[in-house]
Symmetry: C2
Subunit: 298 residues, 2 copies
Amino acid sequence: MKPTWIAVDWGTSNARFWAIGADGSVLGERTSDKGMGQLAPSEFETVLRDLAGNWLSSASRVVACGMVGSRQGWVEAPYQTTPCAVCPSTMVIAPTTGSGLTVHIIPGIRQTDPADVMRGEETQIAGFLAQNPGWDGVVCLPGTHTKWVHISANEVISFQTFMTGEIFALLAGQSVLRHSIAGSGWDGDAFADAMSQTLARPESLAARLFSLRAAQLVHKTDTVTLRARLSGLLIGAELAAAKPYWLGQKVALIGADAVSAPYITGLASLGVDAARVDAKDMTLAGIKAAHALLETVV
Amino acid sequence: MKPTWIAVDWGTSNARFWAIGADGSVLGERTSDKGMGQLAPSEFETVLRDLAGNWLSSASRVVACGMVGSRQGWVEAPYQTTPCAVCPSTMVIAPTTGSGLTVHIIPGIRQTDPADVMRGEETQIAGFLAQNPGWDGVVCLPGTHTKWVHISANEVISFQTFMTGEIFALLAGQSVLRHSIAGSGWDGDAFADAMSQTLARPESLAARLFSLRAAQLVHKTDTVTLRARLSGLLIGAELAAAKPYWLGQKVALIGADAVSAPYITGLASLGVDAARVDAKDMTLAGIKAAHALLETVV
């Protein structure tokens, strides 16, 4: 079987391409480290043609999501504004110089008050809803910038982004704490204890961070324990702020296993049983949903 | 007049040397960028002899404070443990190879629970108390790692370190917010508004950070406004956590003008009138106080 179209997840750092057959099956998968962050608008087409290669002999349509549609990307795909359908009815077509190639870009979603934006996550949510028709509740997408998204009747009602993942990386890797935080490893009790501290008293986050460094100097506390404690402090503070999103709600997590685990543990301790699905799977399912809509419209 | 001793403030990044006369007057001041962070223990003596130079023909005693006394410094000056006298009765003598030079190092202070440490700030506090005998209250030392210190009867009773300055620098310079935060400039209203948000609802800090980026994307908010807003969010969260240190207390700030200004504004809005003194002046006064104690003991 030959591919009839190509699905693309083009983020800041990486790109992933799938060749899709007429029956929707995945015929091939390729990745590139040529993310949006290092490409000028005019360079995207070349990267796509290089990577898609032989697929283009039978596939002429591309559907892409992610930062490829940002102002710094291939072409800006203007945000939809909440409340809005998870799956967009229109996509933007990227400019191409060669013939026989139409590239559709899925728009991100923005919220006016409080100001917030997403680009890429909306496609994962669309994939999740395609696999769970009629699902209402809250989707949490843990990552560098974790998003909590309230979904009702196939619409994004509201959402909130937390920089928890990026702040963890900055503190553990580049602040004075870097001397005291192990690069890997886990201590479940230390995580739970720290999380309950900032969940109950969110103001203690500011006071507790330097204590991680001091604990190592004064008490020789193990750096793996301190790693879990830092994660617990930050996720506890996030859960305290995100309470309207999880309290009494049905919650689904879309994320990789490692980044989701502390959220699942934390939510479980709050009596919230969050089901997890894989982010990569949902991305592809979401691009397929957008493609199907395109077929309908055309 | 010739110098009789040398005062040294030797930090991680820089060193500052003062030549002191028999009457306590400053006869000269020299600085070096050879901070503790780039020196092996055996290299401190050479740097000191090079920089002090001709001063050493009449001065043989050196009194130093700061990271020079850390485990990675010239010689480890073990911490005093709270509660403890602000001015230490004993100092550690650094090993020297040449003759005619005795280097005394002022120890830092540690706290067991919650774990905390200071090295350098204790000298600034000693200088402040030397100039304000019998002063009781709370000293705030704003900086990369801001410290709040409860002082009573010339003793450090307890203290708490906040990473506010370092976190501001990381977020403004290295996170996704770097695109949205101006390198300088100020907006007093934006600062006050953001500070009052996190002061009243500390959990909102986690939710508000990414909003700074989103505000620029969605509302084209000015990056100077966003700089002041970031500062306000972080200092509001610190003041919420440090409430036991300032509520109903007499507060003195030891710090440079720029780094102290937002704290003075923030505290004033809470009805706390904090007097400011200069950090460099207090450092020298504190080293002089330690030197005087040495004279008494000898």
